[in-house]
Amino acid sequence: MKIKIEKRLNTPRYLSLVVPVVSIFAALLIMFVILTIFFMGRIGSFQGAFSETVSAYKELITWPFFNQYGLYSTISKMVPLAFVALGLSFAYKMKIWNIGGEGQLYMGALAATWAALFVFRGITSPILLITLVAIFSAIAGALWALIPALMKAYAKTDEIVVTLMLNYVAIFWVDYLVYGPWRDPKGFGFPGTAAFPEPAMLPTFFDGNVHIGIFIAIAFAILLQYIDVKTQWGFNSRIVGDNKKAATYSGIKVKKYTIISLVVSGAIAGLGGGVQMMGMQHRLMHGFSPGYGYTAIIIAWLAKLNPIAVIFVSFLFGGLLVGNDQLQMFYKLPISLISIFQGLVLFCLLGGEAIAAYRLKIEKAEEVPANE
């Protein structure tokens, strides 16, 4: 009898749930050891360090998910993540690797600000103004994604490089505007625009702690899920995603699908920028996104590009970020330890995916492998 490691022919369904759960568990376990060692240095005794670690872990889980205020924070954090991840998964389904979520988010925020502060200044109906600002932000994200889309479709450039580069261009655009022409004249020169007018702010609930952006995100997730499973578009996009030659052979215009998927992807990310402006920031500032567009790539991936799963994974990730803040705030963990933890989670998730592609096979010695 010998044990052989071989590549799986197909990944069983249950693995897509088991892998992330086991991976996160593994990350927590490794971090537990690191934290205990860290606390031993501080407290001195193993027992004290152990119980300190246990209570830190309780904090990590209870505050973001089971405390009222922690939940508010989690939900607020997940909204931009969810929007961008929804947009990205839409393109990833067709194996079009849009890395430009960050830039599209920024351009959406920029257009939202332009609409709210300049173009539609004076509109007092909240429904009208919010709709217009949202449309502007979605169009801006779409146009920003149209550039790599056209370049990919007609000049065969690599969308990964182009979308990534455009992120920096978008951030510099925003910086130029908030330091320059759009700087709030009453803002004491601080790099930021004036605050959005009242009617351009999204309605809130829970005493102003959560804005309705979360419902917009959920609505989009449901819509995208419907498009995926119930429409000709969703059907065809799977064909394009699996085999572009077969798609062409089937009469599907691959170029058209490439362009539309990137543009829609950018529009959703851009809308996320608009929602973040209207619901949370209320003014365009330098560096308003701490890399939501990049975290969203991981979320889209972990959610296996399923829009409904994106919502849940965004929730978990939002909570993880909030929980990390808590560890820093109340357990005096240095920021570098928190970074280690986040790195560990990613490492274990990716490693788990890689390992899950293989399986152990126990075969009897006398068995001769069949020549297929």
Binding site: N67, Y69, Y179, G189, M285, P290, M329
Partner: protein
């Protein structure tokens, strides 16, 4: 259910125990290890813990991004019943205003901002005073009459500092010009060093700065010219270049603010402390000749005694307009919203 009650009881018990000590939190924008602005706040925090001992429980969080990210941090502290929360970056302003309205029992203290609420105050230091003094040193020491200034962001705090520095320079050396380069960073050693080098390349022989890293100092050291630091004594980074630095000393103020809260005497009156309050000061190295040092000490005394104000007329701006006539002085409001350069500054407000 029983379990839950038990946990609640323990929580209440713990909460009641901590009533005795005032719970204080500091929210920093960069890592405490930056050796600059946040480092000096954290020095103040240590001073506070040292001074009040058992009476305070202090927690900190580093590297909290400005904007929406900060909101959940402030909410987290406030919801846990912290008595006083210090936010040390300008960009926390909107978040602090919003959270302060939701938690009226917590005192919010915002460094460098201008918005207050019933339970949110603002505090800052008259850094322009020691900046003026460091300008005296630079003006006396330059030989090329080209002084480089690596500026952070074009916001009033930074502009005010440049102007005070420039006025100090012209006080002793009307010929010298201050060349400004913007890095648009608070802490980015690579970028800030590059900015300093660009100034050295045009012939600057003194480099001043507003960022938290010591990179501009090191650039000056490498070229064998002189430098003016910021935040703390940076002589260790550039022993052969470092002349002087305007510095922060937050400790005594933090002790006072916490005691005000403990005694119930806290108000949301804006606080703007100067050299006279020991909130800011200047340090000089041995490289500064005694004559220059004596001039600096003398001017420092006049400022403390309120006999001298760095922004006192006549002051002209870059376009030659008389901003303050002989005998006129800039008001605090004008200083807080300054958006123009004095006449011996070369460079543009972006």
């Amino acid at each position: 259910m029983k379990k839950l009650l038990f946990v609640l009881a323990i929580l209440l018990f713990v909460a009641s125990l901590s009533v005795a000590a005032t719970r204080v939190a500091f929210v920093y924008v960069s890592p405490v290890g930056d050796g600059g602005y946040t480092f000096m706040h954290d020095q103040g925090r240590l001073y506070l813990e040292e001074a009040l001992g058992e009476d305070v429980v202090v927690d900190i969080i580093e590297s909290v991004p400005e904007g929406a990210e900060a909101e959940s941090v402030f909410r987290g502290y406030a919801q846990r019943g912290y008595d006083i929360i210090f936010g040390t970056s300008f960009g926390y302003m909107d978040s602090m205003v919003k959270v302060s309205k939701q938690f009226p029992k917590t005192i919010f203290m915002h460094c460098s901002g201008y918005k207050t609420t019933d339970n949110m105050g603002v505090y800052f230091g008259r850094m322009y005073q020691p900046r003026f003094l460091s300008g005296l040193v630079a003006g006396a020491m330059t030989k090329s009459n080209i002084i480089g200034y690596v500026a952070a962001y074009p916001i009033p705090e930074v502009i005010r500092g440049i102007n005070a520095f420039a006025l100090g320079v012209s006080y002793v050396n009307p010929e010298a010009k201050i060349h400004v380069v913007w890095s648009n960073t608070w802490f980015d050693p690579t970028l800030e060093k590059d900015a300093a080098i660009s100034l050295l390349d045009i012939g600057a022989d003194v480099i001043a700065q507003h960022q938290d890293s010591a990179a501009p100092q090191q650039a000056a050291e490498e070229r064998g010219v002189m430098s003016i630091g910021y935040n703390s004594d940076m002589s260790a980074f550039a022993p052969n270049a470092f002349l002087a630095a305007p510095i922060w000393a937050w400790g005594p103020y933090y002790v006072k603010a916490v005691q005000d809260v403990q005694n119930g005497t806290w108000t949301n009156e804006p606080y703007w402390g100067g050299i006279e309050d020991e909130l800011v000061d200047i340090v000089m190295s041995d490289l500064v000749p005694a004559g220059v040092a004596n001039l600096v000490y003398a001017m420092r005394e006049s400022i403390i005694k309120n006999q001298f104000h760095p922004f006192q007329g006549p002051i002209y701006d870059q376009d030659g307009n008389l901003r303050y006539a002989e005998g006129e002085m800039a008001s605090d409001e004008e200083l807080l919203s300054m958006d123009w350069f004095v006449s011996n500054v070369v460079g543009r407000l972006q």
